[in-house]
Subunit: 476 residues, 4 copies
């Protein structure tokens, strides 16, 4: 890489993950090589569509499939022999990689098939469809990791269904809650974001509109009766939804996916923020199973997974915004820059989602609770973690002012502990003070909320390992 | 500092719309006064919920309703007499307006009802629920304007179903399309964004979790059997969805709505970008019915509606991003700033959506087409607007190089016009050259795509005026 | 809309601060009324410029000044009698408030002066100049609050120059530092952001280019020799820098100011993030002098100032981005929406900066340190806060593996405390183990870094109260 | 997912430029390999600093330099033999690449030097310093391209100093201007952004604070008298500014650079937006020397350079925002994710700036003007491009109403052309109507503004080729 170790022939390997460790090892579906494979698949799918509708001979499609490494419906091509680095270099003058790719692919197919390559299509048809194919596959992996996270959260929430802990608002101890409820809340957010992303995936359409979105070229080539069937056949080969209409300038497929991806990173982001907070040295309630080391301080165990997830969660919203800026500026029948701004932005969002959710699954699977720390922290306010309850129970009995005085006294610790102060009240004579002050008896519907959340996640409650086989890269 | 004309009693009327003309006249549902009315409604709804579940006497709820201006399910209160400016002033020390509001409201209800005001609730329950109520009403108005825009677009697309025009890609004439197809494409985007926003509205939940999201206070007050019913009853009075669980720190109700609002602004944004472009002095294909004047140039007719819409479309994406930044940072059981960052951001998004969609409906309703300009522009490339077709038809006959030469000759204009050049080809002897070169005969599926889009929008094809009565402010 | 309590005469008072408590009480310089006052001042300044260069009679300028409430160089007008709410309403059709304002102002000046109002100017000249005037005044107040924050930080840093505390990296205790150094680091950031904002303020230019940025109208009116002097005279009356050239489409005055404002919010943002963290119940090292209460939990003292500042810091970056999106899209000689998107965005940034810095000054002035908590926390790692030092000192003596074992033992607490473990090492026989393990003796250059920072802030080390009189609103 | 053509040994080459053609060929300074080279340089610089202050033997520094490919002050190392792909893989567990890098580098230096590698430093010292080194070099190349753009703009502006053209506001013809003034305005913006970026570059500091920002480790190693000199010596070897103090959590070096980079992209962004607009088929005033082709439409010449630049300009603002979000969230003595979010974001900004400015220089150098189109467009409003002038000259003579009628008549074309209409006015008898209506005589100070701008850019008026040699990659 510039250094001697990175040879001249790949001068543009800009990003191998060094500055984005969150995604390293999880981004295989969204590399430039994967983009290229998807572009080739889109070109093959077009020829297949012509064969499907009876316009091109099936033998032509077969020859193209064979020459360009077709591997089946919904699969990127492989073995086509096109070099992504070289293609990137030749993409500059026209502003997109499809123009030089078409020339290259035509050389690689038999002469009789040449005319069918890219026939009637425009660059945007191929590039948009390829990005949707890539997005489909990557987002499916994101969903798998969200489901794995859900499963791990469900188990964790159940395990800590009764672990009473301090709830914190505006950084301060507020009232009791349970570790389980906190996890159940994370679970609901992850579950919802997975559902939303799944719905977005199902809608991802292929793009086939021709130069101006009228499909005129396809009418010219295949005739007016057959041309309307082309988009559906094209989409079918890519495993994508058939487009309702060309969407060259109505970019909801990109923004809806982008929004769902940002949300799919928000959810792990909250887990990470809480884990980072609750594993602070002073709090110590949570610990990642495998913390990160330090180059200078041998004693440290950093919440490294949470840190990586947070690095993604801080970046994602602005990437999502760029997709909307581009969408709102989609002038004419193909915009002059707004479209181009989408490509790397959508890819980076997919990459962050892949990384953030993979780390979330692992983090939750390895998350440990220090029950002693949880219990110890619960006592830090000298019993006042149940002040709200006192307010509800004693307020009507002793009035607001005396209650405030009692709480102030307990807070300062001068007048004895809270139990003593309460027991000293004549008006509290009939109360079970121990029960009244027991945080475990003031957790409201926490257990029920845990149970509901876990039940809602039930159908996904399978181990992470089980989720993996479904991923494309693991198929033989 | 306000000028003398802006009286002292509202020292903090920061924004009366002077710098955001896009929303002036359309923002009544989202003013601070409307926020206050919704806050009061949330407090009343809480007392009503206690009465509904049998914990509070119905007479208490009646008294509170009467004292605080309750106007019915899903309606903000009015006539409560609380001053939003004064309340803003007292909101600073605690960081939110609910704390001082509760004190004020308690003074305004009968003594026997006082204890029931805000009972068991936390500020976030009230503020989140009020914002959802405001959002519900405002977003409903946005949907109405999107539907009105759809209706206007459907009529416009049908009218111009056969008006052949130049499609432009990367700013250059590409192939023919129709004015109708362009409008149909706008229509699809508006339709989709309206559907999406409607779906988001339906999901907007009330918030009721108590201080730590456990509902412990409600269990204390109403008992463990009855407390679980409180959120549903609370939501019912506000006309909102019952929350599945407290969402103090899982902010999908805010981000999903925010994303849908940004998309609802993107769609008019594209219309505005196209209208601004196509009404350029040199292009002149479109004109707003009522252009804006100039302070210096008496001859100008500016596309003022498009400009206003674009001012919103450029701002919305970053507001949406802020909601996600806040959502991903929702630590603890109530975040220390992220929650607070949502309030004005969500409101501003609603405001922009109200303004952008209202102007979109009007813009489309008044949009006029200069058919002469459209036709004239279509000829600007000396017939080469159908070069793609020539490439498809003549390419196989005369080969790539001769085709390129022919196009270059036609482009330069040296060798005569395109028709002459084509007719001179022996290989074109059997072709109907006039038909081949007629842009109107190379519009592919444009008409069909128009018909489909218009049919899809059918159920909303009602005039703008008709949509208005549905808005709350117009009800008697 | 608005409740009955919010009278009809201000139907568009969208924002009185209810949802942005951070700025309430600090935003007088940036209200719409203040914008209007600045717009009027810009119109008066134009007539004054004509008089200054000898084109208009001085009496005309005097009459206009008198009629429109001129108050002096760099001052917004007052008493002009224009209603901002009404003006907002009439601004919609033309898309900006200057067009209707000119008509109104002409009615308010003597007949003989009428022709001189807005003469030769374009809306953008007036609006840009007015926003710069507003920005100048508001940003100056921001700088004053930053300087007050600096002064408070300098005092705080000196006071806690020797208060040894845990430094935390990635949420974990790392090595010792001092409370003073942390404050000195805050101080440096605030100081730098104040310097940067001051520099940006000094550069804020008036705008005077005429309709197309050529100043042709001024050449027509004042002649080619005199016209070039107009911008400088115009700027002089507004107390702004003379523009090098019209900047209708080169928006650096807006983006450079915007960037500086975001940075001026970042700096308090870091203070707020640290204060919120360090005032967590479990950490308890810092407390705001005046914490915020809770509507439900009587015992709580929230870090309300930090929360408000953070609400601003989370919003500002995206507002800054919008200014750049607008700047990069400044097509033609006046952009069709990008310009309009700037106005409310810049104002909101100013507002957030005013609020965030005012709260920062107060927060720091009232910030208290719980030295016991600081000292207690320092011991939480059982002495391992100095593990890095052990590594440096003992590493060469006992080797890496034995060191790791020693640290693991100390961490677990099994083999006795750290001092005992170190003393048991033969290789440590010559070491002063108490000194070696004393966190106070491993704070490096902390004291020196404090002194440098405080010295650098020296010229501003004046109390907050002293900074106030410099503000315009306080002048008699 | 890597195709067969993309070999296994670089499984994580996520980005080779395929989706970001704007930067292909211009990003050598900011690849991950370049980052790695800079990281190694930072480690070498640390050892050199120890030697400089006399703590380490010079021979140790020499040995380290030799082993790790040191190439001189301000130069990244090369030939160190570390593989960036492998390093990315080992960076995940600790969350940053420095931890595994240190282990690798220690193996590559002689045994006696091993202890000096990374001694006393923390990961952030090395990573921040390396990013600053990379940024310094990349930003210098950006400045060179901005200067080349300036030079080309100066020549272009001079050439078209007298080419009268329509100025457009809100998309409509407004008044005359000149092609030269438009270019001069671009020039001013580019010039300013270059100056700002240069100033930011000069300030870029190295980072050296040790684990907690106290430099305690350096005091331990080098003693209290010598340690304070370490940061300056460290910075000197990297060619960076000496840090005033550790900036682990005060991220102005990143945000100030980021802001300047966004501004350096805004300026070309405006040029690109104007070029794209003015090269529209209907306008045709400008053309890129080398337009881009189309995959479907052989006749098209797209403004490909403008499109690429715009793709960058639409993305940059949000990247800049992310840097501020990270800066404002820099808690503790090293933040838990905010720091990590900066790395890829800053790199991408540098990359976009490199690409956008390189394309801007080329675009301007090849930009051609169609003077016929410019002149033809100027007539499109039937002479009313000078309506403002008529208003100024005739208004006082014939009154507002008659003037409006005259303009309306000219606009409609019914009453004859504008000249005829004016000549028919008795009040215009003494006027030179030809001169009055000549757009070339109503360009105000355009020529003067061109001259000033060109003079201001004078010192950079050197050809692009000349700027190149200054770039590091071109040195032998």
């Amino acid at each position: 890489m510039p250094s001697d170790a990175f040879p001249d022939e790949s001068p543009s390997a800009l990003d191998v993950g060094l500055l984005a460790p969150v995604a390293v090892g999880h981004d295989a579906e969204v590399t430039d090589a994967a983009v290229l494979d998807a572009l080739v698949a889109a070109e093959v799918a077009l020829v297949r569509a012509y064969a499907d509708v009876g316009t091109a001979p099936r033998a032509v499609a077969d020859a193209v499939e064979s020459a360009l490494g077709w591997r089946g419906v919904g699969e990127p091509c492989r073995g086509h022999g096109v070099d992504p680095v070289a293609l990137a270099g030749t993409s500059v003058s026209g502003g997109n990689p499809v123009i030089p790719l078409v020339a290259t692919l035509k050389e690689r197919v038999p002469a009789e098939a040449r005319a069918w390559v890219h026939r009637g299509a425009t660059s945007q048809d191929i590039l948009d469809s390829a990005l949707m194919l890539m997005a489909f596959r990557a987002a499916r992996a994101v969903v798998a990791d969200l489901r794995a996270t859900e499963a791990a959260l469900a188990a964790f929430a159940e395990e800590h269904r009764g672990t009473v802990a301090a709830a914190r608002t505006l950084t301060q101890h507020a009232v009791p809650t349970t570790v389980g409820l906190r996890a159940a809340t994370w679970l609901r957010a992850v579950h919802r974001s997975a559902d939303r992303l799944e719905a977005a995936i199902d809608r991802l359409p292929a793009q086939l509109g021709g130069a101006g979105g009228t499909l005129a070229s396809f009418v010219e080539i295949a005739g007016p009766d057959v041309a309307p069937r082309m988009p559906e056949r094209f989409a079918a080969s890519l495993g994508l939804a058939a487009p309702e209409a060309p969407w060259h300038t109505t970019r909801w497929p990109v923004t809806e996916l982008g929004d769902a991806l940002v949300a799919a990173i928000d959810a792990p982001g909250v887990i990470a923020a809480d884990v980072a907070t609750l594993s602070r040295t002073e709090i110590g309630e949570l610990a990642e199973g495998l913390g990160g080391g330090s180059s200078a301080m041998p004693q440290k165990q950093n919440p490294a997974g949470a840190v990586l997830i947070r690095s993604a969660a801080l970046r994602a919203p602005q990437l999502g915004a760029t997709l909307h800026v581009a969408a709102a500026g989609a002038v004419d029948e193909r915009p002059d820059g707004a479209w181009h701004a989408e490509w790397p932005t959508l890819r980076e969002l997919l990459r962050l989602a892949l990384g953030a959710t993979a780390h979330a699954a692992r983090l939750v699977e390895g998350l440990s609770v220090d029950r002693d720390a949880v219990a110890r922290n619960l006592t830090l306010t000298r019993g006042l973690i149940v002040a709200e309850r006192l307010s509800l129970v004693l307020g009507p009995r002793i009035g607001r002012d005396r209650l405030a005085a009692l709480i102030a006294a307990a807070r300062g610790g001068d007048g004895g502990d809270l139990a003593t102060l309460v027991r000293a009240l004549p008006e509290a004579a009939d109360l079970d003070v121990d029960a009244l002050l027991d945080p475990a008896k003031y957790t409201g519907l926490a257990a029920r909320l845990v149970d509901d959340a876990v039940a809602g996640a039930g159908d996904v409650a399978r181990p992470h390992a089980g989720a993996q086989p479904a991923r494309p890269e693991d198929t033989p």
